[in-house]
Structure formats: C-alpha cells, structure tokens
C-alpha cells in the first residue's frame, strides 16, 4: 500500500471472482491498472457510469478485472467502439485501455482520428514495447536493434513516439508517465480523466517475460529503472519540435488545449 492512499484498497475496484489475474510476475500492466483505479477512486467516479473499453492483447485483457461496465472489443478498434459508445451515451465516463500494438499498429488510424475529433474519452496506452500475448513479436514501439521473435537480427525499424503523434494529430491532452512512478502516473490519469476532450496517456510499462528475458534486461525492477533512459522513441525525433527532440524522454503533461469537444459540438449543430 502507498502511504498517501490510506483509504484506497485496489481490491474494492477489482472483480474478485476474476482473481488470480493472468499477468506474468513483474509485468508493469498491473501497476498501470492500479494507478487507473486509484485515480478513479480519488475522483470518486461512479462505476455504474464508468465504461472501460479495451482492445486485444495483454492490455486488452485488463478491462475484465475492473468492476464497472467493461467491453473487450476487437484488435485495434477500442477507440472506434468507444467513439460510438461515448457519442450515444455522453453521460458515461469512457476510458479506453489499449496496448502499443493495438493502438499504434492495427489501430493507428483510429488513434490519429480520435485525437483529431477530440471526443471526450480517456485513452491509456500501455507501452511495453512488444506483442506480449502472441509471444513477443516486434511492435511499433520496440526500440531499434532489440531482439524479438520476429526480429531475430535486431529491430531495424525506428520506433514511434506515440505522444508526438497524438500531439500532432490534435489531441486535447497528451501525457506520458512510467510505472516506476505510480503516484505520479495516478495524478496524470486524474488530469486526463478530467480533461473535457480527448486525453491520450502513454504509460511506459514493461514485459519481463517475452521482451526483457530475450534482451537480457534483467528483473522487473531493473526494467522499470531503465524506463526513462532506454525507452526513447527514435522515429521522427529530428523532425519535430521540442519537447520531443530532447535526448531525455519527456514525461508528465506534454500538450493540453481547449479545442471544442466533439460530442457537444455535434449535439449543438442541428
């Protein structure tokens, strides 16, 4: 338990009948989930009005553990499902949980348009740099030269900077935090949940089993400690403005604007 959360017991927010969860020991996704639930707790979000939409993969499975209205949809499409849900039910607080492959590869198109559209949604992208559930294949965020089951000679592709992408696409709120700083991550998620438009939050997670092990990255704690120094996106770094050009990985709130929220704009236009 964290000292600053005396009244928060994560078990109150989890479906106990679904325990034990399926995450591997050392997986960062559990910490990301904890931070989300903690943020929901502190904001006193009514879970009868909370809808969590997830895609496919390790991150996609997390929705099933949350005691709320949860929807485990198709690979890459949770943002599109959530768009329909949020437009049909503006009274719901809609949260999307997606992984790096789900969100940036198969679902990349939906991400950029969700950012552009600026519908009130909170998107948590858990970035563990790998396709974990399918056995450790390369993802759009796998760092260059890393070994995966589909890059046996080392990853030759530059990896995405998801936050730069979301910012360029017009997301109303963009933030990044690491599972090594759960209280900070919780605060960032709280900010995102309260943002009146589309909020994109990248969570740097870790996959010890099919990524860390293959690349000799050590234990989960060692992987978490490496997060900031090693998970630097390379793609487009030289072509974008600060803060994305920095050699250091920027975290916290990276972009925030107050463009009109899409659902309200739609409902106002007749």
């Amino acid at each position: 338990m964290f000292r600053d959360a005396p009244h928060f017991d994560v078990r109150d927010y989890l479906r106990q009948e679904m325990m034990p969860h399926f995450l591997c020991p050392g997986c960062g996704h559990g910490m990301a989930l904890r931070a989300l639930l903690w943020a929901l707790h502190e904001l006193k979000v009514d879970r009868d009005k909370l809808a969590v939409v997830s895609g496919i993969g390790c991150a996609g499975r997390l929705s099933a553990y949350i005691d709320a209205n949860t929807f485990h949809t198709t690979h890459g499409r949770p943002l599109a499902y959530a768009t329909g849900l949020a437009l049909a039910r503006p009274d719901l607080q809609v949260v999307v949980i997606t992984g790096d492959g789900d969100c940036l590869a198969i679902g990349g198109n939906h991400l950029i348009h969700a950012c552009r559209r600026n519908l009130k949604l909170t998107c948590l992208m858990l970035n563990n740099e790998i396709y974990g559930m399918t056995g450790g294949q390369v993802s759009p965020t796998t760092s260059e030269t890393r070994l995966t089951t589909t890059t046996p000679h080392g990853n030759a592709e530059p990896n995405f900077d998801a936050c730069a992408l979301a910012t360029a696409a017009g997301a109303g709120f963009v933030g990044r935090e690491m599972t090594r700083h759960v209280p900070k991550l919780k605060e960032l998620i709280k900010d995102g949940l309260q943002h009146p438009g589309f909020a994109f939050i990248e969570v740097l997670s870790d996959c010890t089993e099919v990524y860390g092990r293959k690349n000799d990255m050590g234990s989960s704690s060692e992987m978490v400690l490496r997060q900031k120094s090693e998970m630097r996106p390379s793609a487009y770094r030289d072509s974008v403005d600060e803060p994305f050009r920095s050699t250091d990985l920027p975290t916290g709130i990276l972009a925030r604007n107050t463009r009109p929220e899409y659902g309200a704009a739609l409902r106002a236009a007749k």
Binding site: R15, D48, N69, T70, A80, Y81, G84, L87, L92
Partner: protein, 386 residues
Amino acid sequence: MNAIDRSHAKPAAKLLSGNAACAQGAIDAGCTFFAGYPITPSSEIAERLSTLLPKAGGVFVQMEDEIAAMAAVIGASMGGVKALTATSGPGFSLKQENIGYAAGAEIPCVIVNVMRGGPSTGMPTRPSQADIFQTRYGSHGDYPIIVLAPASAREIYDETIRAFDLAEICRTPVVLLYDQVIAQSSETVSLGGRPPVHATRKWASGSREGYKPYAAGDDLVPPMPRPGDGYRTHTTGLTHSETGFPSQDPETVTRNLGRLYAKLEKHRDLIDSFEAVRCEDADVVIVAIGISARAARRAVDTCRAEGKKVGLFRPITLWPFPEIALREATKHARAVLVPELNIGQLRLEIERLLRDRRVEGLHLISGEPITPAEIAAAATKLASEV
C-alpha cells in the same frame, strides 16, 4: 410471411430512391445513430441521415474507415441506442470481423450492403448480386445472421424498419442487402404515417446480485444489461459463459453457440418473409431477389400470357433461407430457374434445398441487369424441356 402488421400505414406518395427510403425507414424505426464511410452506391444513405438524424435527436458520424464505422455502430448499440451503418462490397468486406463480434457478443445493429460488382473494387456504379454468400458467411467462425433482401424502394423502407425490429428482438446483427438499381432508382412510394416502433430492446432488470448477462429464458434471447443501470457486466468477443466472462469450457462454448443458432430458429415466424407469385400450378418456378426478381415478375406475366405455367418465388428474408416456403412454392414444379447477377450464388442454395429437382441458373456478370425478356426466354425453354 412477415408477421408484423403495417396496416396502419396511410398513403402519402413521395418520389424516393431506395437509399432515401432506407434512410427514412431508419428514422421511423427509431434509429438514433449512424456511423459510416462513403462508398458508392450506398453513400446517399449517409448523406440523407446526416441531415435527418440530428433533427431527430440522433448522431451522425463519418468515421475514418469502414472498420471504425462498424465498431462505432456496435459501441453505440452497446450504449443502448438503435444504430445503423451502410456500405457497399469492399466496405462490407472490411466490416466483417466486427460483424462477427456483434453476432458473438449479441449486439443488435443493422448493416446495409448495397451490392456492387467485384472482386475487389469491381464496378462501383453497376448492379451486382454477388455478395449473397458474403452476407451469410463473411466473418470467420460459426455464427448465424439475418439477411433481408428487399426489391423496391417501398420494400426497402419496410424492411429497414423490420431489420431494426429483428435486430432488437433477436439481439443480433441484421444485414439489409440490395443492388445498385434498387438503391439509386427513384420510385413513387407511399410511406404513410410514421409506423409505431414495434420492438424495443429487452433490458435487464431485477437483482444485480448474481446477475448473469447471457442467461436466456424461453425465447433464448438474454435481456441486455444497459451501461449505467448498475449491472457492471463484461462484454467480449471471446467465447464466454452466461456470466459474460471468457470461457473455453467445451460444454459452455458448445451450449452458447448452439443457442445463437437456436434463437433465430425460435423466431422464424418473425424472420421468414417471401413473396410467391402464381406458384400454385407452376411447372417452372423462378427464384430471384432484388432487381432480378422484378424482371422475373414481368417474365412471369409474359410466360403466363403465352400459356406457360411459370411462377416466381422471391425470398425477402435471404438468410436464414425460408426453405419451408420454398418447398411449398415448388411442390408441383418440375424445374426451377434462378436468374441472378453473379456466377451462381443463389442457385447453389436452391440446389442444396431442392436436390430432387432440376435447377438451372441464368447468370449475368457484365454489370447490367437481366432483362424480363431474357428471363422469359430461359423460363420458356426450361418449361418446354420438363
């Protein structure tokens, strides 16, 4: 026949295209959400609904692609509203994975597919009837689906409303399938007053303790939990138990998939719809849908005027196929003729159902409709041979 009573409708003639009739039908059925992506020859449905829906308190959204449009429709329906998307061949292909999700997770929705020739981008502005099997078997895995194949603007209006009714009653995706000629030709249509909404969704009620979202009663259709009502359920495309949570238990998986098929069989009285014209004494029965059926209707008149005993069986419900009605309509027929704008899709189904009968196809894949004269000639030839 269709058991839903439409006798309240008062005539009010309008010149409408099939696509316009579809948009109006959706509004009158209580649809309040449309997500789509432009594609010929279906785009007029989206265009018209972009005007009509906001006025009706609904939402129109043009999504970034066909897959997103289908996903958004399912998302909206999960939220509790009646939702529609409309597309054509290539777009329909892209929607298939999510259509399977809607079938498996039992999310009501309506998908219009205005057929165009294929494969691939094919002939965007030409009629085709080559998606008959794709509507039934397009997504992966085993799943049942309802497909309605109207043949006129007025019927598109009625069948659009019926599609929403069936989607809600059976908790399943329903496909409305028609061709470019029907979609884009304008006809004088009497719509009458706004029909009452026949089917509203059966929502979960009662105790939240121990609630099982996929536990079905006698009608085999489980009431749906509405987000916000406190049930806090889980919906997934994975095989699931009555709790809604993933399961790979062989017995559970078998029972749930079996129920999906059985629930449609249980509602066949509502689902089955067809038209049989002069089949009672027919030596040759023509089986056709859409624009081919309208040409066949004329061919029947031509043949009858010449003393040939020819009839027409037109399935309005295409899947599940109204096979009992087909067998009844062809009881005395010695041969069956299937004219269609493809290389032989409906014919395959008729051959399967009428294995003891001679079944001939008349197939045109040039991007033109089959003419009444061509069908009459083929029927006359067949009548002389049997």
